[in-house]
């Protein structure tokens, strides 16, 4: 009898352990590639670490003070905030518009859907190179088109001259890439709304706009929250587009580009760690705030 109980307990224990055994490789993988570097980065952010002046020495908050004293890095934070604001708003608004359009049944819908997804599937560097040609001040298609339409008298230099114009044009490339994912997330949510709700609204005399405003939008809020967070994370980490379109110029530079320059060009690893720690914190806090604002408010409505 005792042996039978023991055997059952053993089976139960093994069953209870099974999930842990199954997820352990993932935990080890994430721990080695994410948690350990994050902890190490956090610690090293408080040290002066540079191969040009070894060994590493405890520096307290000096790395952070130096970063905030640097006008180029301060400007890059402002630029990144603008990238994030434009990126989130435009990608969510355009994503919603595209999703609503794609929900309709029309011929070649599958092809249109594939074309919409294409910018998301291409690497950011490739897209930035394509847009670089379009913006080219000497033979770019944008100059050519505007000149042909007599909207500009001579070819214009689009990037690297005016700060906000440069940021806006770089962000267009980013929005071009991240909007398809927002559209797909919102489209998936849109398709899951029961058609009966729209039918009832129509019977009650609601028009398409009212139906969208009072049925679709409230029910889409969780999806919009997810789309907004992905746009926010990608915009806060913008690097490839800035680097390809604007090089190392401080005008339009992003925090991630400054992290790269600080760490790998200037070899100031301590400041690089501090900067990446700040980006990680900003990303986490803003993502949580966005979700809290959009997702949780959506729960009662849902």
């Amino acid at each position: 009898m005792d042996g039978e109980v023991a055997a059952r307990l053993n089976v139960l224990a093994r069953r209870r352990m099974l999930p842990y055994i199954l997820i352990s490789p993932l935990v080890v993988f994430i721990g080695a590639l994410s948690f350990y570097p994050t902890i190490a980065t956090t610690v090293q952010a408080f040290f002066r670490v540079t191969p040009l002046d070894p060994p590493a020495r405890f520096a307290g908050l000096q790395n952070f003070r130096d970063l905030f004293a640097n006008p180029v890095i301060r400007a890059s934070w402002v630029n990144t905030a603008v990238y994030a604001a434009i990126g989130v708003v435009l990608s969510v608004v355009l994503g919603t518009v595209i999703a609503v359009a794609l929900k309709q049944r029309f011929r070649l819908r599958g092809i249109v859907l594939a074309l919409v997804v294409l910018p998301w599937a291409l690497p950011a560097v490739v897209e930035a190179v394509i847009w670089n040609w379009m913006y080219d001040p000497n033979f770019g298609v944008i100059n050519s088109a505007l000149h042909s339409l007599h909207l500009i008298g001579s070819y214009a230099v689009w990037l690297g001259v005016h700060r906000w114009l440069t940021i806006a044009l770089i962000e267009i490339v980013q929005v071009w890439q991240i909007t398809p994912l927002s559209a797909l997330i919102i489209l998936a949510a849109l398709q899951s709304i029961p058609p009966g709700l729209y039918e009832a609204a129509r019977v009650d005399g609601a028009g398409p706009w009212q139906a969208f405003r009072h049925i679709s939008l409230p029910l889409l809020r969780p999806a919009i929250a997810v789309a907004a967070v992905q746009a926010l994370v990608l915009s806060l980490n913008i690097f490839d587009q800035v680097y390809v379109l604007n090089g190392n110029a401080p005008l339009g530079s992003s925090v991630m580009l400054q992290t790269y320059i600080t760490t790998f060009q200037n070899l100031n690893f301590g400041q690089g760690y501090a900067l990446s720690l700040l980006v990680t914190l900003a990303t986490a806090l803003l993502s949580m705030a966005t979700l809290a604002l959009l997702y949780r408010r959506a729960e009662p409505a849902a």
Binding site: L33, P37, P51, P137, F264, A284
Partner: protein, 440 residues
């Protein structure tokens, strides 16, 4: 629902790189270098395409060393070198030593001194740019090309505009360009103005043309006074841009290809900071150029006569974590030999050329090319290399060069874009140089 953290790809890349730096974890070897059963193999990581496989096989037959050549873009390569060396990880047995990194590598000890395998004194005469890779008497890398900054002009455009002879001073050069302007080419001069290394190098070149240098041997800025060659050069460059002599678009053309395309497509008539080798490898190539046979190297116009040409050669060295340093040294000796240097530049025909290879590092190789007639204007280039090419920093680039260069190109770019005055640009660069020097 609890929000999840979704780090971006770039953030993950940085985190991973950080992990490597902090922990000293081994990088992926990527090449499997080592020796097994008597056969040795080495990994060579460069930003140039590989030499033809048949020639590498020949090297393997001669020495028993198998070469695994990995081509990586210049920027990525510098990042990999820094990440691997900081974590003391193996990355390659031989890799790029850029002229601008010599001081940094000497200070960090990331590369093995080459004195064990190469005698600088015996090589110096044949390799005029060897000094660029020496600091405090130590050879950090071996030059494998002789890239230096040159001036090129489209002689057909100049003749059409009525310019006779070669302008040898900056005032003659400006007058010639203004004549070209009156003959229909509105912005005939190509100069880098994007915030990139090419702009810094061009300023060193122009400073040399004005008869000076940017830093003295102790690293002190030499351009703080308005009458200094450095300040004059900066003002001259910015004025050339603002007056429309330089195409407006140059403010944002960061890459070499975009830059040289202007000349190749005949949208400009002169390039002030061009690369040695551009005529043969770009302007005289019919499929990509509309100025074949028209572009010539000319001595750099200076204040009162031809000025110097700033050398920016590429070198090859052995990282401290190399697994097979002796085999790597054998390879470097072979790779930089007189015959092979001439081969990479086209002595044995286009099939054996390394694509984009500017010029051989050895004068003896240039002589071979000049005799064979296989390199455009080889004798002019040999003269420029022998008599005018000089290192931008005679004592070797300082360890803080990357930050200095960043300040240089950022401020000149901003001055040209109208975001600051030339005086402010000079002041900012000087202030950064002084700070960097003070912090060592």
């Amino acid at each position: 629902m609890r929000p999840s953290r979704l780090p971006g790809r770039r953030a993950l890349t940085f985190t991973f790189a950080t992990a490597l730096l902090v922990s000293g974890a081994a990088c992926a070897s990527g090449g499997g270098s080592g020796s097994s059963g008597g056969a040795q193999s080495i990994t060579v990581a460069m930003h140039y395409p590989s030499p033809p496989k048949a020639i590498l096989n020949e090297f393997q037959k001669q020495t028993g060393i198998k070469v695994n050549w990995v081509e990586i873009g210049w920027d990525d390569l510098q990042t990999k070198i820094a990440a691997a060396a900081s974590s003391n990880s193996y990355f390659a047995d031989a890799t790029d030593v850029d002229w601008s990194k010599v001081g940094e590598y000497a200070k960090t000890g990331w590369f093995l001194p080459m004195g064990k395998w190469f005698s600088a004194s015996s090589l110096k005469q044949d390799m005029p740019q060897l000094g660029t890779f020496m600091t405090h008497g130590e050879l950090v890398g071996m030059p494998f090309d002789a890239s230096f900054i040159v001036t090129t002009v489209n002689s057909k455009d100049f003749q059409k505009a009525g310019v006779s002879g070669v302008p040898s001073t900056l005032s003659e050069f400006s007058a010639a360009l203004n004549k070209v302007r009156t003959h229909g080419m509105s912005s005939p001069l190509d100069i880098h103005f994007a915030a990139a290394e090419g702009l810094s190098t061009c300023w060193y070149q122009m400073t040399a043309a004005f008869g000076g240098q940017v830093l003295d041997s102790a690293g002190n800025p030499q351009f703080t006074s308005a009458s200094s060659p450095g300040a004059k050069a900066l003002t001259w460059m910015v004025n050339a841009y603002k007056s429309g002599l330089v195409p407006k678009g140059n403010i944002n053309i960061p890459d070499y290809t975009g830059f040289t395309t202007e000349m190749a497509k005949n949208r400009v008539a002169a390039v002030l900071c061009d690369y040695s080798g551009s005529v043969g490898s770009i302007y005289d190539v019919p499929k990509s150029s509309s100025v074949v046979g028209q572009v010539r190297y000319v001595p750099t116009p200076g204040v009162s006569g031809p000025g110097a040409n700033i050398a920016n050669p590429d070198g090859i060295g052995i990282p401290k974590a190399a697994r097979n340093p002796d085999a790597a040294a054998k390879f470097i000796k072979w790779f930089t030999s007189t015959d092979n240097q001439a081969t990479w530049a086209g002595l044995k025909g286009p099939g054996d050329v390394i694509e984009g290879f500017p010029l051989p590092a050895r004068l003896s190789s240039l002589d071979l090319l000049a005799k064979s007639g296989k390199l455009a204007q080889a004798s002019e280039l040999a003269t420029l290399l022998r008599e005018h090419a000089r290192a931008p920093f005679p004592e070797g680039a300082p360890p803080w060069y990357a930050q200095f260069s960043n300040a240089v190109y950022t401020n000149i770019h901003q001055a040209a874009a109208g975001q600051e005055t030339t005086q402010q640009a000079v002041k900012n660069i000087a202030s950064q140089a002084s700070q960097l020097k003070a912090s060592g």
